[in-house]
């Protein structure tokens, strides 16, 4: 989603307030996002052919991609189920991942590219009420990717994204 928050009702906290209110000295940190996949080779073709991403490591059951401050894992779903001791993982899951790009034109081009690499367009690119531009593509395992241009949120050279 893209939100331009000026003038909206809603609470925004400054970092100093954040620190004072923090009740547990934990990093707001996610180390890994792991997606369950049915066919790892097919998944790797999508991520390479669509996004141009290459794993830092892969074997027959898992691929790890180094991302902006964390790791994306794609793991054969049966192994993920075994690790989390939970069966019957369902799709489409109630989540989305967003990859942000630098312009509306890049959104359109990347959605086309992802569709050509085995993705399925859920929502073609268009402009949300709050500005910017976005669309959604499901990967071959039905995981939803939002492709967005959000001019309000800065991204540094390492890909680190800041809420703004």
């Amino acid at each position: 989603m893209i939100c331009a928050l000026e003038g909206e009702e809603g609470r925004r906290r400054e970092p100093s307030t954040l620190t004072e209110e923090r009740i547990w000295n934990m990093q707001q940190q996610i180390a890994v996002i792991t997606l369950g996949v049915a066919d790892l080779a097919r998944s790797k073709r999508f991520y390479k052919g669509g996004f141009g991403w290459l794993p830092a490591f892969d074997n027959d059951e898992i691929a790890f991609y180094q991302m902006n401050g964390f790791v994306l894992g794609t793991w054969v779903a049966a192994k993920l189920e075994e690790d989390m001791q939970r069966r019957g993982l369902a799709t489409p899951g109630a989540f989305s991942l967003a990859h942000n790009v630098a312009s509306a034109d890049e959104v359109i081009r990347l959605i086309d590219r992802l569709a050509g690499a085995g993705g399925r367009v859920l929502r073609p690119g268009d402009a949300p009420p709050h500005g910017g531009f976005r669309g959604y593509v499901a990967d071959p395992d039905d995981h939803a990717w939002e492709i967005a241009w959000n001019p309000a949120w800065p991204i540094d050279e390492q890909g680190h994204v800041t809420f703004a």
Copy 2:
């Protein structure tokens, strides 16, 4: 999951090779992870009471947490469905998120804390074959969190995690 990769079969790529092979000059970047929630107030109680995390912004339908180089969003699921133009989002989804801590003892204490804040333990903490320590907890919307101690992967002060 936790993997110590020494001696395993599998390909590991050096950054220089990565650059040469890259066919599309894209950041390996995820800007937002958005989780669909049924009850945002309940979700915020879990993330504050369990992890100690506070949103940078929240209103009646969404909360944004500034994470390590990206943003975590928790959004009323019906709004997420509308935005992605896809109905029937299912749980449990075929994915997990991992939060890494500094010791096995912290894994146990955090799992207890998450359970006390409305989470449901899927797998109590134990040691996987490759080393480290981990367990899984479902949040109130059934999204799976792995709580892990992975001594092999460095985390800097800003929470940025490196595949190693």
